[in-house]
Symmetry: C2
Subunit: 107 residues, 2 copies
DNA sequence: TGCGTATTTGGCTAAACTACCAAGTAGTAG
DNA sequence: CTACTACTTGGTAGTTTAGCCAAATACGCA
């Protein structure tokens, strides 16, 4: 793989990797409907340590998927790109397709 | 996070994780334009060991993203869902947006 | 200033991922 | 059967990731 092509796929992979975790998908989903959420709200939803959630948010921010804003002692996070939601439609169809194949194997 | 919601995001994450690697993105990209490719062709493009490429293909297949067909001594892989390509458009806009933000920081 | 809340960061461990080499399987041709 | 090619799988070492606790930082309020 030549260097330039490699760089292209590495850049893409970094972003996709940031999405490749259940907790981070929940965050994206939640931010897409709620608009914005503070770390404490997300922590309660996810149900793990706040430090863990904060790290997940840092990963999403590092990939440029969310942005944060500090207001008072709280930090609010927002989705930076709405198009991420288009992922989920495709993911769902893959899952539906997989389920169908499973069915056929059993039948 | 309640069990059901967790299961939903875990299922999604499994599929996204399968895409979260440069070599696997190259494979998806290549299959989307070429239609199908054998392991040896992909191995040459990626430039790593064939065993490594075979494992990458197994990951994609495990997620239901590609399907394989053996013809003679070769195994051909195809994309199972075209919609995956819609990912890339969004990824590109995230990257463009990130690049713009970088610019602004420098200016 | 000192206290309490919200968040991030350091340190650590366990688990997952990646890539290579070597060995095994399967098909083809002589 | 033998040899060769295409591919997969076992074994293993190095790297990355995830989660927790504890400590540090930042802010608001008395």
């Amino acid at each position: 793989m030549d260097t330039k092509r490699l760089a292209k796929y590495e850049a893409r992979a970094r972003i996709i990797k940031a999405l490749a975790h259940p907790a981070r998908l929940l965050i994206v989903d939640e931010l897409s409907t709620a608009g914005e959420r503070c770390v404490c709200e997300l922590t309660e939803m996810i149900g793990s340590d706040m430090s863990t959630v904060s790290r997940h948010l840092a990963v999403l921010k590092g990939a440029g998927l969310v942005e944060d804003e500090k207001r008072g002692q709280m930090v609010f996070y927002r989705l930076r790109m709405k198009c991420i939601l288009s992922f989920f439609d495709c993911i769902e169809s893959v899952m539906a397709c997989n389920a169908r194949s499973q069915q056929e194997l059993l039948a």
